[in-house]
Amino acid sequence: MNSGAFRPLTVIAPLGTIVNAEPPAPCGGMVEVKYGVETAVQGALAQALDGKVAGDLKGGGNHCYVGGPDPRSGETFIFYEYPAGGTGGFENGDGSNTVRAWTESDMTTLQPIEAIEQLYPVRVEATALREDSGGPGQWRGGLGLTRAVRILAPHTRLSVLAERAVLPPFGVCGGGAGATNRFWIRRDGQPVQPSPLPGKVSAFPVVEGDVLLMESSGGGGFGDALERDPALVLADLAEGYVTAGGGGGGLRCGAGEGRARPCGDRGAPGRAPREPSPSAPRRGG
């Protein structure tokens, strides 16, 4: 690829907007805005492509940081991970589980447990595919992941910069939305929401022994979940990708308003699944 590839494309990005900010605007959320541009362009282009489109993605970098003094050395540490999520379902294919999305660079997502448990005062207690997180559809969205990390140091703080923590990754052509990104703390077995705005956390004080839960989005689904091949639904159940009552991945369409996107002449709006979690994290701290 060279600059000539850009020649047929003109992009008008008005100065002073989030897509072309003037200095000294902070731009730490650049990945999140880039996803926004991609999503909007995809939605518009889909109208010209007769449904040749895929469900939405996790919508940002999912930056998670825990930092503070390491009691073993007194040195300051920063534990930083950016969990991958599911990609969207598309015509004739389910989304992929927990991979860097096709709009991202080829970068890592999680660090090896053996390494981080030596480097930082943390213990990784779970890393798993997040069941029921893929958007329902004839072609299911890929699953996000769940990572549980216990913090073994006093006086640390958590910051998160993520999108799609309120509005889920939408489905297309009648597919349902994937689960939202969720980042929260489990303290003494109870959920604690570290900020009033999900996905945006700034220096939340972590208590030693807290468990950081990083739950990334699944991708949006493609097509009506009732059209899904029953054999695929059974395979999803056998793999644990979906649960019998969880509302994910094609067992049922789900309820509520989705984030509809036009889809050529198919035109059916997306639908959001029910949140699969038994209880939403509460505000605390």
Partner: protein
């Protein structure tokens, strides 16, 4: 520096195809914010190109 936004931020795109050219017009997108949800001049063309390339010409190198 602009005031903090009170609601969700919007990226608005109008895609026009004319002959062998595509114009992506992001007019109507939310004003820049005091927080970190902004990009400089490079990301919008990059994001738009990623989508156009991926959907219209996924196979070739250029």
């Amino acid at each position: 520096m602009r005031a903090r936004a009170a609601g969700p931020l919007t990226v608005r795109a109008r895609v026009a195809i004319a002959g062998d050219t595509i114009t992506v017009d992001l007019t109507g997108t939310s004003p820049q914010t005091a927080g970190p949800t902004n990009v400089g001049p490079a990301m919008a063309p990059t994001g738009a190109f990623t989508i156009v390339k991926s959907y219209l010409d996924p196979g070739s190198d250029a």
